[in-house]
C-alpha cells in the first residue's frame, strides 16, 4: 500500500478513521525513501528512530482523544540547514559534518508540537548558496522528472523528495529563490513567506536581511496547512490560510510583470500568458505593470547577499578555503569585493526598489510573472554566472522587497518537464496568495498531471 498520492487532509482523514496508523504511514514512507534515495540523493540523513517514536506518540494521542490538528501523524523532511536535536546540521559542507546540535530549530519544534513526523534531513547546495557541486561530501539531489536534470536550489532535496512522492511537504529556505526555483523545476508549490513571518532560530543563515524559511509542498492546500503549522497558527482546523482557498479570484486585480519576462523561454512565457488568460476568465482584471529594471533588483540583491554571506563565512574562508566546494567557494569570496560604501549604497537602493513593489501592490492584489527563465536544465549544462545580464533572477526582487511569493506549477513543456509561474502578494497577505495559487492550480489542469513515481524498484529505471 502506498499513500504517496494522498493529500495531507486525506491522510489526516484516513488516520482519524483508523484506516491506517501513524506508525504504518511512517514505515511506508521510510520504505519508499529506502527504495528511491539511491537514485535521487534527496535525503542526506534518515531519522528513522525519531520518526517511529513521533508516529507512535501521534497514535497514542489519537487513542487518548488528543487531536493536535492537520499535521498530527503526517511525515515530512527538513532541509539540512535546519537544526534537529541530536543530528548534525551538515549544510552539505565538509566544515560542518560533525556539528553537534542540542535543540530543534523553532520550525521543527513547531511541527513536532503539532504532531508531525520527521523522516530525515534533505539535500541542499552547500550553505544554501550555489550549486550543484560534485566536490562535496554528499552528491547533489536529482530531479525525479528526469534524473539527468537539476532540481533547482538550494532546497534541492526538498524538491526531489516531494516530487518523487516520498513526503507531501518539506521545509526550505529562500534567500534569492531557493524555495521557488526547485518548486518550479520539480512541479511543486513553494511559498517564500513575508520576511519575518516564520522564526529562523536554529536555521543556518546565509544573509540575515534576506533569509526566510518556508514550505515546499505537493499542492496549494498542503502548502497552506504546512505554512499554518510552521507559523504556529495551524493547530486549529480551518486556520486562516486554508479558509479562503476555494473562493476564487473574481474582482481581483492582477499586475502582470511583462518586462520581467524578456529573457524567459518561449514555453514558460506561454504558460504565464495562459495563466493571465485563465485569471481573466475567472473574473480577475489583469493589467501590465512596470517595476524598475530587473538588473537593478539583481545587482542590489547580490551586493547585500554576497556582503552578508562573506561576513558570515569570513573566518572559515580565510582559514579553510580548500574545504569549501569550488562552486560555492568561488562565489563566497567575491563578497570581499564589495566595500562598506557599496553595501550601504545597496541598502539605500533596496529601500527605493522595495517601495516600488509596495506601490504596485497598492493597486494590485497580486503580481504575476514566471518563477524561472526556463524548465530544469541538465547537469551537463554549465550554469550561467549570476552576474551575467542575460540570465537574471526572477525571484530575488521579492527577497529584496520582503513580499511573500509563491511558485505554482501549471503544466509540462514539450520535453515533459514542469513549468511554474510566480505570484507575489502584499506583505503578510499569504492568504490571498494561496487563494490565487489555488485558482491557478485548479484551472491549469495541473492536478491531473501524473507525478513521477519511485514506489518500486522497476519504476526507478523506467
Amino acid at each position: 500500500v502506498t499513500f504517496a498520492d494522498q493529500s495531507i487532509a486525506e491522510l489526516g482523514h484516513a488516520l482519524r478513521a483508523g484506516v491506517m496508523s501513524c506508525e504504518e504511514l511512517a514505515r511506508d514512507a521510510l520504505a519508499r525513501i529506502d527504495r528511491a534515495n539511491g537514485a535521487l540523493a534527496a535525503f542526506v540523513t534518515i531519522t528513522a528512530e525519531r520518526a517511529i517514536e513521533e508516529a507512535r506518540q501521534a497514535d497514542r494521542d489519537f487513542a487518548a482523544g488528543i487531536d493536535k490538528g492537520p499535521m498530527q501523524g503526517i511525515p515530512y523532511g527538513v532541509k539540512d540547514i535546519f537544526d534537529v536535536a541530536g543530528v548534525a546540521t551538515t549544510c552539505y559542507s565538509k566544515l560542518h559534518l560533525h556539528s553537534r546540535v542540542q535543540a530543534d530549530s523553532a520550525v521543527v519544534a513547531a511541527l513536532r508540537a503539532a504532531g508531525a513526523v520527521l523522516l530525515g534531513k534533505l539535500a541542499t547546495h552547500e550553505f544554501a548558496f550555489y550549486g550543484p557541486d560534485f566536490d562535496l561530501p554528499f552528491p547533489p539531489a536529482r530531479n525525479p522528472w528526469d534524473l539527468s536534470r537539476l532540481t533547482g536550489g538550494s532546497s534541492t532535496g526538498s524538491g526531489a523528495a516531494i516530487a518523487a512522492g516520498l513526503v507531501r511537504f518539506a521545509t526550505g529556505s529562500d534567500t534569492g529563490g531557493s524555495i521557488r526555483t526547485p518548486s518550479a523545476w520539480c512541479g511543486l508549490v513553494g511559498l517564500k513567506p513575508t520576511f519575518g513571518l516564520l522564526p529562523r532560530r536554529g536555521v543556518f543563515p546565509l544573509s540575515w536581511s534576506f533569509d526566510v524559511v518556508g514550505p515546499l509542498a505537493r499542492s496549494v492546500e498542503d502548502c497552506a496547512i504546512a505554512l499554518g503549522t510552521m507559523a504556529g497558527v495551524g493547530n486549529a482546523p480551518g486556520s486562516d490560510y486554508q479558509q479562503r482557498l476555494e473562493l476564487g479570484v473574481r474582482g481581483f486585480r492582477v499586475g502582470l510583470l511583462r518586462e520581467f519576462l524578456s529573457h524567459v523561454d518561449a514555453e514558460v512565457l506561454a504558460g504565464v500568458e495562459e495563466v493571465a488568460s485563465m485569471l481573466r476568465k475567472d473574473g480577475a482584471v489583469v493589467d501590465d505593470v512596470v517595476l524598475p529594471p530587473l538588473a537593478e533588483y539583481g545587482a542590489t540583491a547580490r551586493a547585500i547577499i554576497f556582503s552578508e554571506g562573506f561576513h558570515l563565512h569570513r573566518k572559515a574562508l580565510q582559514e579553510h578555503l580548500g574545504d569549501f566546494g569550488p562552486v560555492n567557494g568561488k562565489r563566497l569570496i567575491l563578497g570581499a569585493a564589495y566595500s562598506a560604501s557599496d553595501y550601504i549604497a545597496a541598502l539605500s537602493a533596496r529601500r527605493l526598489l522595495a517601495a516600488k513593489v509596495q506601490e504596485a501592490l497598492q493597486r494590485y492584489d497580486v503580481l504575476l510573472c514566471a518563477t524561472a527563465l526556463r524548465t530544469a536544465p541538465s547537469f551537463s549544462q554549465t550554469s550561467a554566472s549570476p552576474f551575467k545580464p542575460s540570465a537574471p533572477s526572477l525571484t530575488n526582487p521579492f527577497n529584496l522587497s520582503g513580499n511573500p511569493a509563491m511558485s505554482v506549477p501549471i503544466g509540462l513543456d514539450t520535453a515533459g518537464l514542469p513549468r511554474g509561474v510566480q505570484i507575489v502578494g502584499r506583505l503578510f497577505d499569504e492568504a490571498t496568495l494561496l487563494r490565487v495559487g489555488r485558482t491557478i492550480e485548479k484551472r491549469s489542469g495541473w492536478e491531473s498531471v501524473a507525478m513521477p513515481r519511485f514506489d518500486n524498484p522497476a519504476s526507478e529505471t523506467a
Binding site: I333, D342, A345, A346, L352, S385, F387
Partner: protein
C-alpha cells in the same frame, strides 16, 4: 581578495576574475539606483531628537 586575507587557489583565479569584472559593473548599477534613492525620505528623517532629554 588578498586584502581580505584570502589565499585564492590558482585554479580558481581566472573564473573569479571574470565574475569580479561583472560584479564591478553591478556595483555601478547599485550606485546609480542610490542616486535616485537619495531623494526618498528615510523614516527616521522625521524623528527629531531632543538632545537635552538624552
Amino acid at each position: 581578495m588578498d586584502a581580505a586575507g584570502l589565499s585564492v587557489p590558482t585554479a580558481w583565479r581566472s573564473e573569479v576574475l571574470s565574475e569580479y569584472v561583472l560584479l564591478l559593473r553591478e556595483i555601478a548599477v547599485v550606485h546609480g539606483v542610490t542616486r535616485r534613492a537619495a531623494m526618498v525620505a528615510h523614516p527616521f528623517d522625521n524623528i527629531t531628537t531632543n538632545r537635552s532629554e538624552t
